[in-house]
C-alpha cells in the first residue's frame, strides 16, 4: 500500500468517524472542551503516523486506540497536575452530562469501560477489540463478562432506589 494512498484512507476514515472518536473521548474526560482537545491531538497523531497502518480495514480500530491512549495520557497528566479532590466541582457541573450511561460507565475501570464502549456502542468484534487494546481474546472476553456483571448489579441497585 502506497503511503500517500494510506494517508488518504486514514483521512477519509477520520472524517467519517470523528464524531464517534469524540464520544469515545467524552466517556473518559466528560467535558466537551477536553474531549475536543483529545480528538484534535489524536487526529494529528493519526495523520502523522499514517504510514504505520498495515491494512485498510484496521484503520478504524487504530483510530479508536490512538484516541483512548491520548485520553488516558490526558487523565494521567491532569491527575499529576491537580489532585482529584481539588477539582473545581461547579466548573465540572456546567458541562457534565450526568446521564445514566456515563454514571454506569464510571463504575467500570478503564479497561472494562473500553471493552463495553467498543463492543456495544461501536459494535466491534471481540477479535478487533483485542487488536486495539493489545490484550488477548480471552482477556477481552473476561473483561466483558466482568463489566456486564458489574453493570447489572449497579443498574439493578439504581432501579430499586427509584
Amino acid at each position: 500500500m502506497k503511503s500517500a494512498k494510506l494517508q488518504q484512507e486514514v483521512e477519509a476514515q477520520i472524517l467519517a468517524s470523528y464524531e464517534q472518536l469524540y464520544r469515545l473521548a467524552f466517556t473518559y474526560v466528560k467535558n466537551p472542551d477536553d474531549a475536543m482537545d483529545i480528538v484534535q491531538e489524536s487526529v494529528y497523531k493519526a495523520i502523522a503516523n499514517a504510514a504505520e497502518v498495515r491494512r485498510v480495514d484496521t484503520i478504524k480500530g487504530w483510530l479508536c486506540r490512538i484516541t483512548v491512549n491520548t485520553a488516558l495520557d490526558f487523565l494521567r497528566r491532569r491527575a499529576r497536575e491537580v489532585p482529584a479532590e481539588q477539582l473545581p466541582e461547579e466548573g465540572r457541573e456546567d458541562t457534565y452530562q450526568d446521564t445514566d450511561v456515563l454514571r454506569s460507565l464510571d463504575i467500570l475501570d478503564k479497561r472494562e469501560r473500553m471493552v463495553i464502549v467498543l463492543r456495544f456502542f461501536e459494535d466491534m468484534k471481540l477479535q478487533d477489540i483485542a487488536g486495539i487494546t493489545g490484550e488477548n481474546l480471552n482477556t477481552v472476553k473476561a473483561l466483558l463478562y466482568r463489566s456486564l456483571k458489574k453493570l447489572k448489579i449497579h443498574l439493578t441497585e439504581g432501579e430499586s432506589l427509584e
Binding site: M1, K2, S3, A4, K5, L6, Q7, E11, I14, L15, Y18, E19, Y22, R23, F26, T27, P32, M36, V39, Q40, E41, V43, Y44, K45, A46, I47, A48, A51, E52, R54, W62, R65, N69, Q97, T99, D100, V101, L102, S104, V117, F120, F121, G131, G134, L148, L151, K152, L155
Partner: protein, 297 residues
C-alpha cells in the same frame, strides 16, 4: 435477570449516541489534519536532506561515473551490458524491452536472459514469469486509469553476486503513482547446478537459520535506531501485529562481495514506507556455524 442486560445496554447505547457533538469539532479536526500534513512534508524534506548529506559523497561519485561513461559513448554502454561473466553463466543480455507510454502512464521493463544453455533454462523461465506478471499488472492498471492518473513503472536489473559458485541477479521495481514504491526481487543461482537457490539452501539441513538470522536482524535494527533517531523499524511498535517477529524464508537475499549474506526487505515490510527498501548484511561469524560450505563465507 440475565435477559435484562441487552435492553439496558441498548438504552445505554442510545444515550451514548446522544452525547452532543459540538459544531466546532469539525473545524478542529480539519485543522489538525492540515497541520499534520504540513509538518509531515517539512519533516520528509529534512530527512531527505540529511540522508543526502550522509550518502552524498559516495552516491554522487558513483552516479558521475555511470553517467559519464554512458554519455561518452553509446558503444561503451552496450559493451558494459555484454561483459561476460565467469563460470557456467556466460552473460546476461537484455532479451527484450517492454516499453509503453500513454499520456501520464508509462512503463519500461527490461527482460534479461542469462546465456548458458539448458542449465540455466529454469532461471530464465522464472525471470520471464516474474517480468510477465509485472507487465500484465501494469497493463491492467493502465487500462483502468486511462489518461487520468500518473503511473510510471520501471524495472531494472543488476548482477549483485558473481563469484566462483554463486550468481545472483537483482530486479528493482520502481512504481511511481502519487508517491513512489520500490520492491526488490532477487534470483540466486548455484553455478554448479544452474538451479535457483532458496534461503534455506544456503544453510545446513535442520539448522535453525531463521532464528539465527531473525535475532541478528533485530539486533541490527535496534543498533541503527539507537544511532540515528530518524531511523525507524517496526520492532517495538505499539501496534503489536506490525512488529518484525520472524524472518520469512521467502525474503529477498544475495551474497555480497565479502561472502556475507544480505537480507533485503521491500518497502513497508519491516519499516514505515519512507524508509524505502532496507538491507541487512549478516556478519560471517553469525552464520559460520550453520552455513552450507562453499556458498557463504
Amino acid at each position: 435477570m440475565k435477559e435484562n442486560t441487552p435492553d439496558r445496554v441498548k438504552l445505554m447505547k442510545q444515550e451514548y449516541e446522544q452525547i452532543p457533538v459540538p459544531d466546532e469539532l469539525s473545524f478542529r479536526v480539519r485543522a489538525a489534519i492540515a497541520r499534520a500534513k504540513r509538518e509531515k512534508k517539512e519533516k520528509y524534506v529534512m530527512r531527505i536532506r540529511k540522508a543526502a548529506k550522509t550518502l552524498g559523497a559516495t552516491a554522487a561519485a558513483f552516479m558521475l561515473t555511470v553517467v559519464a561513461l554512458a554519455n561518452s559513448s553509446q558503444n561503451i554502454a552496450q559493451a558494459m551490458e555484454q561483459l561476460p561473466v565467469l563460470g557456467a553463466i556466460t552473460k546476461v543480455v537484455t532479451f527484450r524491452t517492454y516499453e509503453d507510454e500513454r499520456g501520464n502512464v508509462s512503463a519500461h521493463v527490461d527482460v534479461p536472459q542469462i546465456e548458458g544453455g539448458d542449465e540455466v533454462r529454469a532461471v530464465n523461465d522464472a525471470i520471464e514469469a516474474y517480468t510477465d506478471t509485472i507487465i500484465a499488472r501494469y497493463e491492467a492498471d493502465a487500462a483502468i486509469m486511462g489518461d487520468e492518473g500518473h503511473y510510471d513503472l520501471n524495472v531494472s536489473h543488476t548482477v549483485v553476486t558473481d563469484n566462483e559458485r554463486l550468481f545472483a541477479i537483482r530486479f528493482d521495481e520502481t512504481l511511481v503513482m502519487n508517491s513512489g514504491n520500490e520492491s526488490v526481487m532477487i534470483y540466486n543461482v548455484d553455478k554448479s547446478t544452474g538451479s535457483i537457490l532458496t534461503l534455506a539452501d544456503l544453510f545446513l539441513p535442520d539448522s535453525d537459520y531463521i532464528a539465527v538470522l531473525t535475532e541478528n536482524i533485530k539486533e541490527q535494527m535496534q543498533a541503527r535506531m539507537d544511532a540515528d533517531e530518524n531511523v525507524h523499524y517496526w520492532l517495538h511498535d505499539e501496534i503489536e501485529a506490525m512488529n518484525f517477529k520472524e524472518l520469512s524464508p521467502d525474503v529477498a537475499f544475495y551474497v555480497n562481495a565479502e561472502g556475507e549474506l544480505v537480507i533485503v526487505f521491500n518497502e513497508g515490510d519491516v519499516a514505515p514506507m519512507y524508509m524505502g527498501v532496507v538491507e541487512f548484511a549478516i556478519p560471517a561469524e553469525v552464520t559460520a556455524a550453520i552455513a552450507q560450505p562453499g556458498l557463504l563465507k
